[in-house]
């Protein structure tokens, strides 16, 4: 009896697993991938494919000389530079009410074109909160310390230091930059050197490579398959009155 109950519970769980997987909502898609990008979902890592859906709690990472561009449901566009890693921590969006999204950038470089939600980039040392802006961000370990840099390209956003000893807050306006070093006092913002901005823009630049259909995949135009009218009616037009009374040759007599 116990065995049967256990089997039923196991079957129930097995049935529920794919249902819960299906129930997960898509929060975005990969629109461009250069090199290799991986997606970690439910403790399995595999290579991300173009057009593939992104779900909540997915971790997206890129290899060396690789980049990945993602479009999210609120029209935010994120581009990860090479050897970068980000977690889609929170994504709530409603067309009427807006929403909130949190991207956790663990390592590397990222360009964010913020959409219609209240958008936050979390890094190990700071949080940037924005709406409708363009943010460049880089985080990593330099000389044994976690360092995070934000550059504001368009709009404005607030940066808050979250690392113990680096607490503080600053508003970044277009062209401004801030670098927060773990454990060091919260710094002041300054005009971003052109080289830094350009380096981060280049590091997160990726062109779309739209697929090209081959000649066999083309289904339009004069060379295509043309549906022709069937010859349902015989071409010769009979008129009953033109038929005389001469007997007709009959091959088979239908039985009554």
């Amino acid at each position: 009896m116990k065995k049967t109950r256990f089997t039923f519970i196991l079957l129930g769980i097995l049935l529920l697993v794919p249902v819960s997987a299906l129930a997960a909502d898509t929060v975005g898609s990969f629109v461009a991938i250069r090199g290799k990008a991986n997606i970690e979902r439910e403790r399995t890592i595999r290579e991300a494919q173009l057009k593939e859906s992104i779900f909540l709690n997915d971790t997206v990472s890129t290899s060396a000389a690789s980049r990945a561009k993602m479009l999210f449901i609120d029209d935010s566009v994120l581009t990860l530079g090479e050897q970068s890693k980000a977690v889609i921590k929170e994504y709530v969006y409603s067309r009427d009410k807006g929403g909130k999204s949190i991207i956790n950038l663990l390592d590397g470089k990222m360009r964010a074109i913020v959409g219609k939600t209240k958008f936050e980039i979390h890094t190990p040392t700071a949080v940037a909160a924005a709406r409708g802006t363009v943010i460049l961000c880089e985080t990593g370990i330099v000389n044994g310390k976690q360092v995070t840099t934000f550059i504001c390209v368009e709009g404005e956003f607030t940066v808050t230091g979250t690392y113990p000893g680096s607490e503080g807050s600053a508003l970044l306006k277009p062209g401004m930059m801030i670098t927060i070093i773990a454990g060091e006092p919260f710094p002041t913002t300054f005009q971003a050197p052109a080289g830094n901005t350009e380096d981060l823009l280049n590091a997160t630049n990726i062109s779309y490579e739209l697929s090209i259909p081959g000649p066999a995949e083309i289904t339009l135009g004069p060379g295509q398959f043309v549906i022709e009218q069937m010859s349902i009616l015989p071409p010769a037009s009979f008129e009953p009155g033109a038929i005389g009374s001469t007997p007709v040759t009959i091959d088979i007599i239908f039985p009554k």
Partner: protein, 446 residues
């Protein structure tokens, strides 16, 4: 000393040359950096959405997003290219304008060249396509763009220039409820039914001897043969050679002309022949909306046979004038409707009539390469003289409805089932009949 002086002069000359250039270089760098920093979020979002929608085959959505990107940045090459791609993939002629705009911004973009080549390829304008494909191949050798351009060029060699002909063969079976179009009074004894099964074979061949952007010319030949299960005296053999010409006077107007000779045998005996001349004008408007005006002159000659004793009385000519409106319904299909007037003039006036034809039809593209065609027609005919055996002037109202469903298995093979029903309501009993034909055809194309 002299050597030192020369070196000094050289350095001074270098400094004098370089220093005035420095502010210019700095200015150029500054402009470049400012330009790099100038990222419009709205544009980026629109162009990204357009790219994703193109990949997901949502071409209408992609075109709307690309148009939005182009509105924000009217001289953006990428937005113009994406708009062109989205419109091209959905078969829209406006694609040409968008792709040419992208190409005018950057004539050396291999993708724009390739896409314009693909657009012309889709339109069957192979000569126009070749130039752009060859340019794409030259600009970006050893790339996917070059590989695809080569595929299209190979395809043009196969389908465009080398194969100007087409051949369609259809073989099928039909059940016809009224083969002889008679109510049975004059049928010989022993026939319990006028209905019969028949096998039908049709052949359509076409040779395009002329094809350019402005003019097209083709020779065609059609053959029809029916073989009845029992009513073999009603087997029809029909041969129809034709010559067609089309002149594309402007993108929105095409003049067409056709001459055909139609010869028919019924039961192995010569039954009729006709000369047909038909000029027509096609006005193409926005997104495939078109109006066609057809005129047809048909000179008919009917021969008396043992079976059709008074057939020659129908010899004469027919004038036909019709207008057809074709309305595309997105990528789902099209609706056509129209009106035609025809006037038949025969040796014996009781076969002469004038008729009004009203018709409505639709073609619908269904999933998994199924195509539905529905057609309905109302045709009233007023005869000019009383039929000899009748006591009053003949008036006919013919109503026709038909439908066919075609399944395309490949570009070469398809199968169709069809049903046609005709009800001819005549003031004269002998001409009052109805007819239903059920068909199944298999078609192969070369």
């Amino acid at each position: 000393m002299r050597k030192q002086s020369t070196s000094f002069h050289a350095v001074r000359k270098y400094l004098f040359t370089v220093f005035p250039l420095l502010p210019c270089l700095l200015l150029i760098m500054g402009v470049h950096i400012l330009h790099a920093q100038n990222i419009d979020p709205s544009y980026e979002r629109a162009i990204t959405k357009a790219a994703l929608k193109i990949e997901n085959n949502d071409f209408e959505g992609a075109a709307a997003d690309a148009q939005e990107a182009l509105r924000i940045n009217p001289h953006d090459e990428r937005a113009a290219l994406y708009l062109g791609i989205a419109l091209s993939r959905s078969g829209k002629k406006e694609s040409e304008e968008a792709l040419k705009k992208a190409l005018s911004i950057n004539p050396q973009n291999p993708r724009s060249n390739l896409e314009l080549g693909i657009y012309y390829y889709n339109q069957g304008i192979f000569e126009g396509s070749k130039g752009y494909l060859e340019t794409a191949l030259r600009i970006a050798p050893n790339t996917e763009i070059a590989s695809k351009a080569q595929q299209y060029l190979n395809s043009i060699k196969t389908h465009g220039s080398v194969k100007p002909w087409s051949l369609n063969l259809s073989l099928g079976g039909q059940y016809d409820s009224n083969v002889v179009l008679n109510d049975g009074d004059s049928l010989p004894q022993g026939i319990s039914d006028k209905a019969d099964w028949r096998a039908v074979f049709t052949l359509r061949a076409k040779y395009n001897f002329l094809r350019s952007e402005k003019i097209e010319g083709a020779l065609g030949y059609s053959f029809y043969q029916s073989l009845h299960a029992s009513l073999s005296d009603f087997n029809v053999t029909d041969n129809l050679p034709e010559l067609t010409m089309a002149f594309h006077l402007a993108p929105w107007i095409t003049l067409k002309g056709m001459y055909a000779f139609d010869h028919a045998l019924v039961g192995g005996d010569a039954y009729s022949y006709s000369h047909i001349i038909s000029p027509s004008v096609v006005f193409s408007y926005w997104k495939g909306l078109a109006t066609t005006v057809d005129y047809k002159y048909k000179k008919n000659h009917y021969m008396d046979t043992d079976l059709f004793e008074d057939n020659s009385a129908r010899t004469g000519f027919n004038n036909f004038l019709g207008i057809t409106e074709t309305v595309p319904v997105g990528s789902y299909g099209s609706i056509r409707f129209g009106y035609a007037y025809d006037n038949e003039n025969t040796e014996e006036e009781y076969w002469s009539y004038s008729g009004n034809r009203y018709f409505l039809g639709m073609q619908w593209n269904l999933p998994v390469r199924f195509y539905l065609d529905l057609y309905g027609e109302y045709y009233d005919k007023n005869y000019k003289e009383r039929y000899p055996s009748a006591d009053r002037l003949r008036e006919d109202i013919m109503k026709t409805v038909s439908g066919s469903l075609t399944k395309v298995f490949s570009d070469r093979f398809s199968a169709s089932i069809g049903q046609l029903y005709i009800r001819n309501k005549s003031s004269d009993d002998i001409f009052d009949y109805d007819r239903a034909i059920t068909s199944l055809f298999f078609t192969v194309r070369f």
